[in-house]
């Protein structure tokens, strides 16, 4: 009485002559009959528990390592207005990275972005070839290089670091992404007609240095993702000792007061993973712990309750009929 689809197919497969089948390989026949060899994983308790435990045991160590890397980073964050005296509370090994941080600043605003696409296209097109593929927005008929609102609102605070009366050397080379320096910003493109409008935005540029060497501009031109962001200012290539008092001479040119933004100066060392952020490590540990907890809870439930299959009171249609 039982119709054995599988066994019937095995028997029927060979002798039947369906036009589609003739002369075609077995795999194709299986394909048309939807009978391809397949792996059919099922979430059995053993699988679930193993997978969760495994996940936990992988994630927690990764989280701990990540956390450790994050903790190994020494970071000094100091809000500044006119002056700034950050204290080194722990020994910082060179290189120490200097960032400026702006809060509540929407560099990712779409108004910035649209001209920016054009703006940095300009920079590209001047690369090596001198004929522009795109004519930038002009001011009195003359092109502006670099153009766009982002360039126009170029950050122009400067910092001078003094430790015990001696000025610390700040290396401001190699702070931008290499591809930007090499390809996006032209080596033979010089700032031109920049900040010449009626209303001056941010900082101005030395028209004698090609754009590809104006690394602070290149850094600035990479749009920040979020309204609170840091950008690399430079590197101090000397170690700082614990208790060192740094005196920072700030040229506070950049206006953040009108929109209530804050400016911060950040000194940070780096680990193999980058800067200081506990979140990934904590998240790893959290997820690892959760999956272990899930596996334990699941295991307990599994052991306590007998297997429910065949117990069809759970089926929705049976539930309906039970209740009503």
């Amino acid at each position: 009485m039982e119709v054995e689809g599988g066994s019937r197919s095995a028997g029927a497969g060979e002798d039947r002559t369906i036009p589609i089948q003739s002369g075609q390989p077995m795999a194709f026949f299986q394909f048309t009959q939807q009978n391809l060899p397949a792996c059919k994983p099922v979430l059995t308790p053993a699988w679930v528990i193993t997978a969760c435990l495994l996940m936990g045991f992988i994630f927690i160590p990764i989280g701990l390592v990540t956390l450790r890397a994050s903790h190994s980073v020494i970071e000094i964050v100091d809000q500044y207005d006119t002056e700034c005296v950050p204290e080194v509370h722990k020994y910082m090994k060179a290189p120490i990275y200097i960032y400026y941080q702006l809060d509540n600043y929407y560099q990712n605003h779409r108004r910035n972005q649209i001209p920016n696409v054009v703006g940095f296209c300009l920079c590209i097109c001047f690369d090596s070839k001198l004929t522009p593929r795109y004519l930038p927005e002009s001011n009195h008929g003359l092109p502006i290089v670099p153009c766009g609102l982002i360039a126009w609102s170029f950050f122009n605070d400067t910092f001078k670091f003094i430790r015990e009366r001696t000025e610390l050397m700040v290396n401001r080379k190699n702070i931008a992404w290499k591809s930007d320096r090499d390809h996006k910003f032209g080596k033979q493109v010089y700032p031109f007609n920049f900040q010449n409008g009626t209303f001056t935005g941010g900082g101005s540029l030395d028209p004698s240095i090609p754009l590809s060497d104006q690394e602070d501009l290149i850094v600035w031109m990479r749009t920040a993702a979020l309204p609170s962001f840091r950008k690399l200012y430079g590197r101090i290539e000397e170690d700082l000792d614990e208790g060192d008092l740094l005196e920072v001479h700030v040229m506070n040119n950049y206006n953040t007061y009108s929109f209530g933004g804050k400016k911060k100066l950040v000194l940070s060392t780096l680990s193999w993973l980058g800067g200081k952020n506990d979140f990934p490590g904590l998240a790893y540990v959290f997820i690892g712990c959760s999956s272990i907890i899930i596996s334990i809870v699941f295991m307990l439930l599994h052991v306590k309750n007998p297997r429910a299959y065949g117990e069809t009171a759970y089926l929705s249609w049976n539930r309906k009929s039970i209740s009503g």
Partner: protein
Amino acid sequence: MAGNRRKRHNFSSQIHAFTCGKTSFQGDHSLIGGPGFSRVVYCNDPDCFESSVLNYSDNYVRTTKYTLATFLPRSIFEQFRRVANLYFLLCAILSFTPLSPYSAVSNVLPLVVVIGATMGKEILEDWRRKKQDIEVNNRKVKVHFGDGVFESSKWKDLKVGDIVKVEKDEFFPADLILLSSSYEEAICYVETTNLDGETNLKLKQALDATSNLIEDSSFQNFKAIIRCEDPNASLYSFVGTMDIEEQQYPLSPQQLLLRDSKLRNTDYIYGVVIFTGHDTKVIQNSTPPPSKRSKIERRMDKIIYFLFGTLVLMSIIGSIIFGITTSEDIEDGRMKRWYLRPDDTTVYYDPKRAAAAAILQFWTDVLLYGYLIPISLYVSIEIVKMLQSRFINQDIHMYYEEADKPALARTSNLNEELGQVDTILSDKTGTLTCNSMEFIKCSIAGTSYGRGVTEVERAMASRKGSPLPQEATEEEANVVESAEEKASVKGYNFVDERIVNGNWVKEPRADVIHKFLRLLAICHTALPEIDEETGRITYEAESPDEAAFVIAARELGFEFYERTQTSISLHELDPVSCRSVERSYKLLNVLEFSSSRKRMSVIVRNEEGTLLLLSKGADSSVMFERLAENGREFEEQTKAHINEYADAGLRTLILAYRELDEEEYNRFNEEFTVAKNSLSADREEMIEEAAEKIEKDLILLGATAVEDKLQNGVPECIDKLAQAGIKLWVLTGDKMETAINIGFACSLLRQGMQQIVVNSDTPETKALEKSEDKSAVAAALKESVIRQILDGRTLLRASNESSEALALIIDGKSLAYALEDDVKDIFLELAIGCASVICCRSSPKQKALVTRLVKVKTGSTTLAIGDGANDVGMLQEADIGVGISGAEGMQAVMSSDIAIAQFRFLERLLLVHGHWCYRRISSMICYFFYKNIAFGFTIFFFQMYASFSGQTVYNDWFLSLYNVFFTSLPVIALGVFDQDVTARLCLRFPLLYQEGIQNVLFSWTRILGWAFNGVLSAIIIFFFCIRAMEQQAFRKGGEVAGLEILGATMYTCVVWVVNCQMALSISYFTFIQHIFIWGGIIFWYLFLLAYGAMDPYISTTAYKVFIEACAPAPFFWLITILVLISSLLPYFAYSSIQMRFFPFYHQMIQWIRVDGQIDDPEYVYMVRQRSLRPTTVGFTARFEASSRNLKADLEKMTEGQAL
């Protein structure tokens, strides 16, 4: 046979009353030349000046949807009739304005791809039609080229006015007027199966005036002008005149040969082309099948509207916040966010016109959040369904070898609907049964002959005898096989040594037997076909029962071998000499069968000159009333036998005859001829009236019984369907007893089932009918029907407590009342409560009405299955129409959605393909929404961090390729290949099908669950990414992550998450799934590499983002893994708990499979038993019921013993 030898027939005009002389110039013929009747055909002169002025269309027939020229505009128009596509078109247009948050090209491309794919599909389908067209249009036909020379020419080159010669078994290339044929009387036989599905041959006859054109050469100087009606779709009417040599003759449908019908039993005909190509009646008649949409798709539309709503809401929120922040940019003349230059800006960002900016921003947002709406959904579903249909068509288990017919999904729209069928409405004849009749018994002169055992009897015997139906069915199967071996003659299964081999002459009433058999051999409309080689005669008959009679007569010694217009010739066994002699009977009149008459008669004159009226009638009430007083000799016995036969599931006919005297006949003939020749509307009635007068005072001879055999595997299939919880209603035109018997044979009914019979054929109702007042009769009948239904309902309520199964049997007359507006609700209530419903004696219209009633009132999915032209209404009315491509022509198949060759394939079609398709499509749609919500919400969340300015976090091309490349293929693989359980297990656990009926896989909770999962994934992806990458250095070099790195990372996470989510939620991996899922992810990385390597002018923000920034940074990989696992963890936990503690039915089956207990029959039985709702029909139920009874008996016995 030589083509030119003309057959001689003694032609007498009495039979074919349509001899058209001048007398019948009346009525419609006066219209010719007026509006609607303007066609003029210059016969044999298609190139003359007058006809070239008329410029009728050529004979090229195009069934394709598009031509080269119309393809583009038309298909584009078709595409944009869909609301979603229109929306995307709007987006594409808007994306060329500055409103667009991304570049126009990137937005247009996916649309182009999607539209292009759909168009490609259209082209593919149209190409198939085109090939068919080419084949048809290039068929050859012989055409008169002048000077009496006929040469072959292509169909498409035919012109109006051409003379063509069509030979035996060829199709007519256009609508022709018959001029002459190989028969002297210029008649020909035509098969119109392609037009109306009727398999009987129709007779056509040319005008006398042209019937002498018998040679090719006679057309040398033939000239005629035909004036007739304009092209129209009516197959059965035609009005025209033909002018030959100043003489005018009327033309009627009798001369019209329609395109696509076939010349049969005639060597050749000559005809003149009057309608060509698209003017032909068959083409004018072709209408596309009604387009049906599945419930899932309708619900999907609702989800799309829901998403639209979400989109608009999000856009409104976004634009309001944007408006507020923008208006705050200048406060009291002081700029706040000076770096945005609010003083020098366009209208889009102008703080002074913040409201306008907000409104414009709304449109930007509409564009931006458009990723919530899956652009590729429709095209993916179409592709998937097309492939699913392929699988259905190619399934070897639904391939019927004997007829070389695979299943054919004619529309792919309804695949998933196949998984949700709640009620099947089935025709009986040809669907449940083979529609091949076997002459098995007869009752002659009050004696019953024939010892064949019918399937129903076998079933009944086993029902009574054996408590184990399994064994019984096996035995049954064996018996059937052996019986099949014995029955060498198709349609004949008569075993009785008293009759066969001429033994009947020794029977006491040999004279009656003689008359009986002769009647069988004469009274029919079949045509003999002599096989030239073997000399064996086969018959072409209108219906299989008729064929069975003629065959039976032949086997018993009355071989009918020739029919002419006026005579029927037999080899008959002479009872005196016991030798075969040739006898011919002059055929005078045929009183044809019609559904209202339920009988047919012929009037013949035998060689002795006696006039005989031979009559056979379908229904006892029809025939017994017409018997003469002296003809009722065997009435009682015959009636008893008929009831016996009906109990055995046989179709019975009553045979009777009478001798006529000349005078009576002449009177009748006159009246009959007048009636036949009249052109008025009540012609049919007049004919019936005339026939009525002569069909009386008959002398009863006996009755025949033919078996309508059940198709192979029907009981098993019905049992499976019943176990799956599908209700089966049988709607049949048969009489109640036959229907009930078939019900028993296929286990729809069983003993112990309470039958509620609603009948208007009871003695009381008959008494009622005698009264004169028609309306009073109707009211009384209705009253009685309502009473019976209400009685049934009380029974039903009572039985609900005792869980006893009920069956409802209702006849056509009662059904007419039950379907009236005020009754149909209680009728439906009763019918739904019953385990089986059988409607007998129902007309095609009633079948359609019942279907609509069930469909509309219960809201459940109905499937109608049938094979004949009378099922067409039902097939089109039901949610799904399944046609059986059997013997009864193509009409049902042409109006069906899916055609199968045998009823038993329904089991696989529904339980396997239906279930799979339902599951596939519903999970596919859910998953589509999931992936687009997950993606769309990350875009939305980012807006919160970009002051709702409409800036996207992703590169334009990432956005646009999301739906088209990185995530679409796995979904298609899901839709085409996914299987929750194998076909074998689908069939073993039919209750699995309930998942579709209950719609558990596409319930709103499940859809919203997936939407919620999408939002959850978006939250985890977005917030984990931004928290992890917020400010600090992204890597060792000290650089921080900018917008482009965040975008690339987040996008990578999205691609991983949605693809792995897919991998997690499906439980069936072939290498195809692996390729698509993992390939999708790998493809993303490759794309990122390739795209990043392009000139920065093209790649913009993606320039070297992977190779320089992401790939070398361990942070990137750490985040990918973190986000991936944490996004999947909630779903993983949920689904493993659900799987373990609250499994769906398919998951239970998966458990059984995993535990390897699938081969443990006891275990499987146990699980299945526990999950089965008690079924009430099918042999499983019958088995259960009988074993219950047995148990009860045993208990009683033991109790008795204990006492």
